[in-house]
């Protein structure tokens, strides 16, 4: 059995590597043929001489005069053999830029994720118990409203409300550039977290609560809840102990999947609130014709999808004895 398992995991891993490879290569080819980093230099004032532009581009493996296949080869071998994702269009290391941005995204997502998971699950379960009562109906309408609202609209509405109230909460950037000293930078940073966190919370918690409500409703009619009540548990005890525990199983892998993917998914929030995380980079790399960055993000996203899938499978197995055996 151990060997079978090992073989299974190995096969799966190989498949994943192939998938990531294809996805990243395809994106790289597309980005290299569509994006024109040279424009970034041609639009500089004063415009540098063309020959030195090409020299710079060549040193960063971005020169359109080098055949695309050759550029691709350089790019892919650097990644495979040196773990080096190359340079951004302005000469910085993609690796260190990515590291910085992953850190920023993590900071932004941590609180939002924790709060939305707990409150989403609780909210959904509560709604399910009160199905078709006014509170559930209102919740349903509110959650549909939130789910139908594009993220930028939520974010900008929050900003607008903040403005009307006389800016009690600062929100542009990650902290006030005028802040002096470690402590005030940290408090400023905390303050700047508030609005993006609320934005993410509204979307995530709503989504999670809908999942939870659905699975909970499925469980409420189940035979085993009836058995639990026949044993002498009150409806409430039965629902909390037997129902919620079972209903949370299909939801948790979903949450894990969502949360992991948020690393590149918080695009709007990061962009609008000026947080320099992975999501923002996703957009900026394209608008800045940053081919190597696009390639790195493609690899990152593909790996993320696979990690998310694997992780949610593991969570599923951990929660459900039926899957484990």
């Amino acid at each position: 059995m151990g060997r079978g398992m090992g073989r299974f995991l190995l096969r799966r891993a190989v498949n994943y590597v192939i998938l990531v490879f294809i996805a990243a290569s395809f994106t790289y080819f597309l980005a290299s043929s569509y994006l024109e980093p040279i424009v970034n230099f041609l639009s500089k004032h004063p415009q540098p001489p063309l020959s030195s532009i090409h020299n710079i581009l060549r040193s960063r493996n971005l020169d359109p005069n080098t055949p695309l296949v050759q550029r691709y080869w350089t790019w892919i071998t650097n990644i495979l053999f040196h773990g080096n994702f190359g340079q951004t269009f302005d000469g910085n290391s993609v690796n260190s830029e990515m590291g910085r941005r992953i850190f920023v995204s993590t900071e932004l997502l941590l609180v939002a994720t924790l709060v939305s998971t707990v409150s989403g699950v609780a909210w959904g379960a509560w709604n399910a118990l009160r199905q078709y009562r006014p509170s559930d109906r209102i919740s349903t309408v509110v959650s549909y409203l939130l789910l139908a609202t594009p993220t930028p609209v939520i974010a900008i509405s929050l900003e607008t409300v903040d403005q009307w109230m006389g800016v009690p909460v600062q929100y542009t950037g990650m902290y006030d550039p005028g802040a002096q000293g470690t402590w005030s930078v940290i408090t400023s940073n905390m303050q700047h977290l508030i609005l993006p966190t609320i934005t993410l919370f509204l979307i995530q918690a709503t989504l999670f609560s809908r999942y939870q409500r659905g699975t909970m409703l499925d469980v409420l009619g189940s035979d085993f809840l009836r058995t639990a009540r026949a044993k002498g548990l009150t409806r409430r005890q039965a629902v909390l102990k037997h129902g919620l525990r079972t209903a949370v199983i299909p939801v948790m892998p979903l949450l894990v999947y969502n949360i992991v993917l948020l690393f590149t998914g918080a695009t709007f929030t990061e962009k609008i609130f000026g947080w320099h995380g992975m999501g923002e980079w996703l957009v900026d790399s394209i608008t800045q014709n940053d081919v190597n960055a696009v390639g790195a993000i493609a690899v990152f996203t593909a790996v993320l999808v696979l990690i998310a899938g694997l992780l949610s499978d593991l969570v599923y197995a951990a929660l459900d004895p039926r899957v484990r055996s």
Binding site: A148, P150, P152, I156, I203, F268
Partner: protein
């Protein structure tokens, strides 16, 4: 036997009553249940008003979305410009209606198209199994791994010269995977249903079986999904357009309007919140309709994601690979809801 509320099938009614119930075919029953859902009816009503408004209202407006009113540059709503004007002096109402047209059309084409792709892929993979299934599922997995946002953002601006229809096709091409998985697992259970087996042992052609027995029996799921996809496609469109990667000038959609109005949202809210409001309203209507349809098709389905549930119901909690399906559900979220 343990059925708590005994079913009352039509057959237990005496003959003369049976005639009456006969007129209540499944279709009629679904319609009746749907009409009883107030929110869904409100959704239908508002959506109809939006459609009529978007296409008829512009003929009655003083200003077209291409006119600049040089006497009113960036003015707030007033009697002449109900929704105000933007900086170049274009009437926001005319612009919003124009954007609404495009967004509606994109949603109404893109949603069903996405579902169609999903249905074809899912049903073939599920019915044929074997290597066809393996290939299709591998492609599906690849599509999930591919950074769709990046690719869309790279390709969409290059479609500027052509028609926006390409863009819709592109959106659908990146949005079918989750539904396809659902259809696949439903097909896998339907495949072993006795009436499908009966057809197979009669010697009926597999393609005929798919179109005669499989797809009609997942139709309810497909209809609901197509409705939900309308909302998802509109959201994706507006999101991409927001960054300039979506609908390209001279076309206008609610997404491009939101992007244009965003810098002034706090100072001139009308430039942002009118198109944003219509976008939300449209999404809300679609969601209500989808919910109503779901309840109408399956009155016992209670939950948020009935599409998800239907597989579980069909397959039981452990059969098949739940985690796979679970993962697939999730993706739906991130699909429309990159936050």
């Amino acid at each position: 036997m343990t059925q708590l509320v005994p079913d009352v099938p039509a057959d237990v009614l005496p003959e003369e009553k049976q005639k009456k119930t006969r007129t209540l075919s499944r279709g009629a029953l679904v319609r009746r249940r749907f009409r009883r859902n107030r929110l869904a009816m409100v959704g239908v009503g508002i959506l109809a008003v939006l459609l009529v408004g978007a296409y008829v209202l512009p003929y009655f407006l003083k200003f077209s979305y291409t006119d600049n009113d040089w006497n009113a540059l960036g003015t707030a709503p007033d009697a002449t410009h109900w929704f105000g004007t933007n900086h170049p002096g274009v009437d926001m109402l005319a612009l919003t209606m124009r954007g609404l047209q495009k967004s509606l059309v994109i949603g109404l084409i893109g949603g069903p198209l996405t579902t169609l792709i999903a249905a074809l892929v899912g049903a073939s993979a599920g019915y044929f199994g074997g290597w066809i299934d393996r290939i299709l599922m591998w492609v599906l997995e690849l599509m999930l791994v591919v950074p769709s946002f990046l690719l869309l953002a790279l390709i969409a601006p290059r479609l500027a010269g052509g028609t926006w229809l390409y863009f819709v096709v592109l959106l659908s091409a990146f949005g079918w995977m989750i539904t396809a998985r659902v259809v696949r697992s439903m097909t896998q259970t339907l495949k072993d249903r006795e009436y499908v087996l009966a057809a197979r042992y009669m010697g009926v052609n597999p393609l005929v079986i798919i179109f005669r027995h499989i797809l009609p029996n997942v139709a309810s799921i497909l209809i609901v999904d197509a409705t939900i996809q309308v909302g998802a496609v509109v959201l994706s469109e507006s999101g991409l357009s927001y960054f300039g990667f979506g609908i390209q000038a001279p076309d206008i959609s609610l997404g491009t309007l939101i992007a244009d109005g965003q810098p002034d949202a706090t100072t001139s809210p009308w430039m942002f919140f009118f198109p944003a409001g219509f976008l939300v309203l449209m999404g809300l209507c679609v969601a209500f309709i989808g919910d109503g349809l779901r309840d109408a098709f399956d009155p016992t389905a209670a939950g948020a994601k009935a599409v998800v549930k239907s597989i579980k119901r069909a397959k039981g909690p452990i059969a098949g690979s739940p985690a796979q399906d679970v993962v697939s559900n999730t993706a739906r979220a991130e699909e429309g809801l990159a936050s």
